[in-house]
């Protein structure tokens, strides 16, 4: 097994002290170390936002792209070289707001990659506006009288769109979170790990104590079966006094790469020779 320190980047995170994203970064480093994936074989792709700065803080290849566009870049990179371990990271605004269209379609594609969303239910980097997962009636900088819209439900959305591994963690429980991430990375298919990652500066409601009082682990219930889609959907809507974390759902389905004709040889696109087309035959077809 590799050492966690091998995955520590040159730059120290610039997150606020106490930010939930530290726990997410540590858990990811631990998961990669336990899986013993060499840093040069990992590509972490992010969008824009506090949490999207993560690729700068982890020792692996990174692509810090546009706001909301981490998933298409990550998809293109995975399809281009499926030998890489591709992990997309970002926040709730990035992934469930501006980028939700890509989220929906990435779920149904089942490309073998992991998507970690640091969900703090607020826009942090832009100093505290309501996000897609801000609960109804919560006052924020952009909703001084409370939000009017309902909060988006990432777990239910991922389930309904066909994601094959759907989990939720809490950055107040790093060991548990690391195990969920490990399972996600090992899973053959598109895996979502939505993480309660408290914003200590702008979200005074959904704090560490708030979550600690409420979260419970699905795996503690012997009866819970993550292969049961209906049950997963039911649990996805549990919110309030008790909020489930853990693995909601896992199913094996052929990945996009499995069914893509250009990858039948098993050789990544990026490693295939460039001169493959029989140009004379193509020319003949024009006649």
């Amino acid at each position: 097994m590799a050492q966690v320190k091998e995955y520590i980047g040159k730059i120290k995170p610039d997150w606020c002290p106490g930010c939930g994203d530290f726990g997410v970064l540590n858990s990811l480093q631990r998961a990669l170390a336990e899986l013993d994936i060499a840093p040069h074989n990992v590509l972490v792709v992010s969008g824009i936002g506090c949490s999207s700065n993560l690729p700068g803080f982890i020792h692996s290849y990174g692509f810090h792209g546009l706001h909301g566009r981490s998933l298409p870049v990550a998809s293109g990179a995975k399809l281009g070289n499926h030998a890489l371990t591709v992990i997309a990271t970002g926040g709730d605004g990035d992934g469930y707001g501006i980028g939700v269209g890509h989220f929906v379609h990435t779920c149904r594609r089942n490309i073998d990659m992991t998507y970690i969303v640091m969900d703090n239910q607020i826009y942090g980097l832009t100093t505290g506006q309501a996000s897609p997962t801000t609960e109804k009636d919560v006052r924020t900088k952009s909703t001084p009288e409370g939000t009017i819209e309902l909060a988006l439900n990432p777990v239910a959305l991922a389930l309904s769109c066909g994601a094959t591994y759907v989990a939720r963690g809490f950055s107040g429980d790093n060991l548990h979170l690391a195990q969920l991430m490990k399972g996600a990375i090992e899973h053959k298919g598109f895996a979502l790990v939505d993480v309660f990652s408290p914003c200590v500066t702008y979200n005074k409601r959904n704090t560490y104590p708030w979550f600690r009082e409420r979260v419970y682990k699905l795996e503690d219930d012997q009866q819970y079966d993550p292969a049961d889609f209906r049950l997963a959907m039911e649990k996805a809507f549990e919110w309030g006094a008790r909020i489930p974390i853990g693995l909601f759902y896992k199913v094996e389905r052929p990945t996009y790469e499995d069914e893509e004709p250009a990858l039948r040889s098993g050789i990544p696109l990026a490693k295939q020779p460039l001169e493959r087309a029989d140009l004379a035959a193509l020319m003949e077809d024009f006649i």
């Binding site: 040159k10 730059i11 610039d14 060499a38 840093p39 040069h40 074989n41 590509l43 792709v45 824009i48 700065n53 690729p55 700068g56 020792h59 692996s60 290849y61 990174g62 692509f63 810090h64 792209g65 546009l66 566009r69 298409p72 870049v73 990550a74 998809s75 293109g76 990179a77 995975k78 399809l79 281009g80 070289n81 030998a83 890489l84 269209g101 890509h102 929906v104 379609h105 893509e260 004709p261 250009a262 990858l263 696109l269 990026a270 295939q272 020779p273 460039l274 001169e275 493959r276 087309a277 029989d278 140009l279 004379a280 035959a281 193509l282 020319m283 024009f286 006649i287």
Partner: protein, 613 residues
């Protein structure tokens, strides 16, 4: 008495769904296989409900540069078509139609025009055979080789078997037989072809062909006319060539996916039209900032907004120039011919990788969707240059190292010993973000200069622009991209009239070749721009970059391509009047409708026809 010409023009018109494209393509392909040069343009008309389509095909024993503007033979698949174009058929020509669909009277066409009406049901026993039977009559009347069409019928229905091939061949022969018995041989004939079987293609397939030749392995796109046919053509060859084609949820995803694939070392391309490109805008800058080599095809159509989805225009030059915030290296290529669609796509991939920047290929519907013969392209020694790509980086590798050319050697993700992050935020030579905590104005300046320096070197290796035709001509026609061939033909036509013109048509638009273009323009006696837009985008770019103004202007923004006559007429006027003040003229395509035409009330249509609407 048949007159032998070096060219003739056939229009096949009907409503969408009449099978114009397949009948028109069959005719075009039969001609290209019979040793003729062909140029076909499919004009989608949408003036009347139900839509109207007309395939203009011009064939010649010499290179034909445009769809032409004469109408020798009309195949009218419905009454609407006949109403629109019947009067435009020149003396000696003919109209082919199905008498089961409508009746035509000699006073509905000009003098000396044959009406060749086929009773399709009686002849072929099935109205579905209409197009094939009419093609038979057309081929017979024109005296062209019927075997080429027979061969195409067998190819086209090969999968469906004899049960479909046989009745089609019979309908074709019946059509020929009918014309042999009931019509005079066409008075306008084209001399024999040279026996060469010429390739026939459009701009989109030629860009696709170039991409495959260049080793493109990833094409992502969202459907949009007129770029969709590039998607369709490429996907048709995906299995054979190992190309991965990814249809995306939107154009934002399409370009971001191509960037992702390119980032890990795949030659990647995306294609769209103006509206889709507008969505890609932010990611164009992403490719610039992250120094990712990616090729983007923008097949322009009439704008603004949804505009004219099936019409042509050169209205997006400023969008391409200005796409995305900030300043970064980009290349804009505007192929002018089918060969250039192929060659410049290959060049585009090489420039993208050598200079690690987005390369934009601007075409338009007129170039993308035309069908034209070409004399072959270089397929034996395709130049592929992947630029500075490191397999084993040395210690201390810096992804964005500042170098004399500004090009930083690339190590791809997966390479040991070169782990780095690529960011859309400003970053230093190691890729470390300097936008937030570590703001660093001198470093920002250095990185900006590193990136922009690439353009200086790129500019030096672009092929120089050149003038076609006599250097000392009295008038220079100035344009870009798809209007090249109409300008060339206008130049020839003017020469026949004893007037002297030449052509300066640009194909490398950015970085702008300021010195060369200035030198060429300063040597011109008089200039007239020919652009398919309202504001004269190229002449504005020229003025911006050279301080020189093109004197006179001919513009078109009705959605249809320039007609040869329109360019010749305006050029002649300018040459003869030598105006002192700038002349800005615009032209419009004549729909060919009689002034009193009404699809509902026209007595010519009769009750039978009204059922079609």
């Amino acid at each position: 008495m048949a007159q032998t010409h070096t060219e003739l023009t056939v229009w096949i018109g009907g409503s969408a769904g009449d099978g114009i494209a397949s009948a028109g393509e069959s005719f075009a392909k039969a001609c290209s296989r019979s040793g003729y040069h062909v140029f076909a343009y499919n004009s989608y008309q949408s003036v009347i409900r139900g839509g109207h389509v007309c395939m203009h095909t011009r064939i010649g024993t010499h290179k034909v540069y445009t769809q032409g503007d004469e109408l020798d033979y009309l195949v009218a698949l419905n009454a609407d078509s006949f109403q629109r174009y019947g009067k435009r058929v020149v003396p000696g020509g003919a109209v082919f139609y199905n008498t089961d669909k409508f009746k035509a009277a000699p006073d509905q066409v000009g003098p000396d025009v044959q009406l060749i009406g086929l009773p399709v049901m009686a002849l072929a026993g099935n109205q579905l055979m209409q197009n094939t039977a009419l093609l038979g009559a057309l081929i017979q009347t024109l005296g062209l080789d019927p075997d080429a069409i027979r061969e195409l019928i067998r190819e086209r229905f090969a999968k469906k078997g004899e049960a479909v091939i046989k009745p089609n061949l019979e309908a074709f022969d019946k059509g020929m037989g009918f014309a042999r018995e009931h019509a005079k041989p066409g008075a306008i004939r084209v001399g024999p072809g040279d026996g060469k079987r010429r390739p026939l293609a459009g701009g989109n397939p030629m860009i696709g062909f170039g991409a495959l030749a260049a080793g493109c392995r990833f094409y992502s796109a969202y459907p949009m006319t007129p770029a969709s046919s590039l998607l369709h053509w490429l996907v048709g060859y995906a299995a054979k060539t190992g190309l991965m084609v990814k249809q995306c949820e939107d154009e934002i995803s399409a370009l971001n996916m191509a960037i992702g694939a390119a980032h890990v070392g795949v030659r990647a391309m995306t294609g769209t039209s103006g509206g889709g490109f507008a969505l890609m805008t932010e990611a164009v800058g992403e490719a610039g900032m992250t120094e990712t080599p990616v090729v983007i095809v923008e097949a322009m159509r009439g704008g603004p907004s949804t505009g004219l989805p099936t019409k042509t225009e050169q209205g997006d030059l400023f969008q391409l120039l200005g796409a995305s915030q900030g300043e970064f290296p980009r290349v804009i290529l505007a192929p002018r011919t089918l060969q250039e669609c192929y060659d410049m796509t290959i060049h585009g991939f090489n420039l993208a990788e050598r200079y690690q920047c987005p390369v934009l290929i601007a075409t338009d519907l007129y170039l993308a969707e035309r069908l034209e013969t070409f004399d072959g392209v270089n397929i034996t020694k395709v130049p592929i240059d992947r630029g500075a790509l490191l397999k084993q980086p040395e210690n201390g590798y810096r992804r964005f190292a500042d170098t004399p050319t500004g090009v930083s050697p690339r190590a791809l993700p997966g390479t040991p010993g070169a782990v780095s992050t690529t960011a859309t935020d400003e970053h230093d030579e190691d890729g470390i973000v300097i936008s937030d905590v570590f703001t660093n104005p001198p470093m920002r300046k250095k990185m900006m200069e590193k990136r922009m320096r690439k353009m200086d070197h790129l500019l030096k290796e672009l092929p120089a622009p050149a003038i076609d035709g006599p250097a000392d001509a009295d008038l220079t026609l100035v344009g870009w991209g798809s209007t090249y061939q109409v300008m060339l033909e206008a130049m020839e036509r003017l020469k026949q009239e004893g007037l002297s013109a030449n052509v300066l048509c640009l194909r490398y638009l950015w970085p702008f070749q300021t010195e060369q273009v200035s030198r060429l323009l300063k040597g011109c006696k008089m200039t007239m721009s020919v652009e398919a837009n309202y504001t004269g985008q190229l002449v504005r770019l020229i003025r911006m970059e050279t301080g020189l103004s093109v004197q006179h202007h001919l513009r078109k923004y009705d959605g249809e391509p320039f007609e040869l006559k329109q360019v010749v007429d305006q050029a002649r006027t300018i040459l003869k009047t030598k105006p002192k003040e700038p002349v800005v003229a615009s032209v419009v395509s004549d729909e060919g409708l009689p002034a009193d035409f009404s699809p509902i009330e026209s007595p010519a249509l009769g009750a039978e026809v009204s059922r079609q609407h």
